[in-house]
């Protein structure tokens, strides 16, 4: 068992319909700190996160979180990792308030039937809703929340589980520019105490906040400190020709 949050991925091999998304890839990282995973659409960022969370069972390879083998086991992974999915993966057609979303996740502990509200659930939910600045709109139905507001609720839900590691899949997608900065700041603050994985199409938003940068495109193309990894040739390897050096600044354009 490690004292610091720790994730080790070995020989990761995942294929969909015969096409490899990862083929023998691996990495090891220790927290706290922010690991930003970048890559174009369809590169395998979400697949990598789902493998870390045990939601995808790889053809080959193992995933260890804090020393425990969590390969293909979301229940075991969830004891160490809080998960923030993409907004599009959250169903908003059923009546549920933001506060309920957070409280319900805390009521899942223990064995069924879970008839009683465990002690401290409401207080803990309130604490984390406040921590992400969501207390003002927490009692609105999720169907009436903006993308940024729902994202804060989802981060509060993951934080409330009080795990040492967080995995956030595209937390800035479908959010307006002002909202993006607010969410990025919350993630930066969270990464001071926890190991936080975040994926993004927009590498600039997290670049100066990251301890590690991982470039993914059908495999891990680069992994290390942002200074070493955010290089033109490496990014071109991942993004193809849509990377330009303009006045000594690298710009990445999604095609």
């Amino acid at each position: 068992m490690h004292g610091k949050p720790h994730v080790k991925v070995e020989d990761l091999t995942i294929a969909y319909r015969g096409e490899y998304v990862f083929n023998g890839d691996g990495f090891e990282v220790e927290g706290p700190g922010l690991v930003t995973v970048i890559g174009p659409n369809g590169a395998g960022k979400t697949t990598l996160f789902r493998a870390i969370m045990g939601l995808v069972k790889p053809l080959r390879g193992r995933v260890y979180v804090n020393g425990e083998d969590v390969t293909g086991s979301p229940g075991r992974a969830g004891r160490h990792i809080g998960y923030v999915p993409q907004l599009a993966h959250v169903y908003r057609g059923f009546p549920l308030t933001g506060r309920e979303l957070v409280e319900l996740s805390l009521r899942l502990r223990g064995r069924p039937p879970r008839l009683h509200v465990p002690r401290g659930v409401r207080e803990r939910a309130e604490r984390y809703l406040r921590a992400v600045g969501a207390e003002r709109f927490a009692d609105r139905p999720v169907s009436r929340l903006s993308g940024g507001q729902l994202q804060r609720i989802l981060i509060a839900r993951a934080l409330a589980r009080e795990t040492p590691i967080l995995v956030m899949d595209e937390p800035l997608s479908a959010i307006d520019p002002r909202g993006k900065e607010g969410i990025a700041r919350i993630i930066e603050e969270t990464a001071r105490d926890k190991l936080v994985f975040v994926s993004s199409h927009d590498p600039i938003m997290f670049l100066h906040r990251s301890k590690y940068l991982m470039v993914v495109n059908r495999g891990i193309k680069g992994f290390g400190s942002p200074e070493k990894t955010f290089r033109l040739e490496l990014l071109r390897h991942a993004y193809g020709g849509s990377v330009y050096m303009i006045e000594k600044c690298i710009h990445v354009f999604e095609r």
Binding site: R50, M53, G54, L55, P74, G75, A77, G78, R79, I81, Y83, P85, H89, V90, Y91, G93, F94, P95, L96, T97, E100, L101, L104, S105, R107, L108, R109, P112, P113, R114, L115, P141, V142, R157, R161
Partner: protein, 264 residues
Amino acid sequence: MLDPRWVLVVVAAATAFGSLSPVVAARKLYYFASSLPHAALLAAVLGYPLAAELGGDPAVWALAVGVPLSYIVVYLVERGVEEDVATAVFVSFSVASSVAAIYYVLTRYSVGTSLWSLIIGDPLLASWRDAWWAAGVAAGVAGAALLFYREQVVIGVDRDFAATAGLRVVLYDYLVVTALAVAAIGLLKAVGFVVEHVFILLPSAAAVNVSRNSGEALAASILSSLFAGLAGLILGVYLDVAPSAAIGFVLLGVYLASLGVREK
């Protein structure tokens, strides 16, 4: 004067379907749930020859045949088939099979209960045995729906998060399918094949329109279902129309009224 057997049957069916309906909405199972009465009809029809040949109660045989049959959808989804496609395969199989089964039973067996009652349903024909059977089925189904309502909502809203929070989501898939199948098969005689569709789908469709949270949705679904059941029964008796049809029309009215509330 309303016979207490009619009231018991209608309250049982309304409670069972009213409790399950918000689970159907949360889990986005509208299409699958609306396919279950087809499987229920097949199972109920097969129950008669099985009871005649092997002994026992046709209703018990219907459950024994129909519940495993409904697992086909979960099995196909687990094998990677899209949920809608799996349901379409299931509907095709159960519709074709139920027509074949009805033809077979009508031409080979003397059936004590009219198969028409399974299709149109009539609580006014309920015996005390039917009434207690319906009450037992409803108690089991509503109990399961209420006990695991929160878990089903969490899985419906965000399945991946539910799995990482420690829920064994596949077990809950089987649980919801079992509860729906038991309700559809066990209450088929009471409300009929046609109105089962309405009873499974409309209470939550109306509840979603007027609720802010999951608790309100559950309460609104059960209350609208009970209201429609009892109002439909009274209208059916006093206006001399089929109570099942009256229940269906009242629920439709409840849904249309809920649209008005939502607009406000």
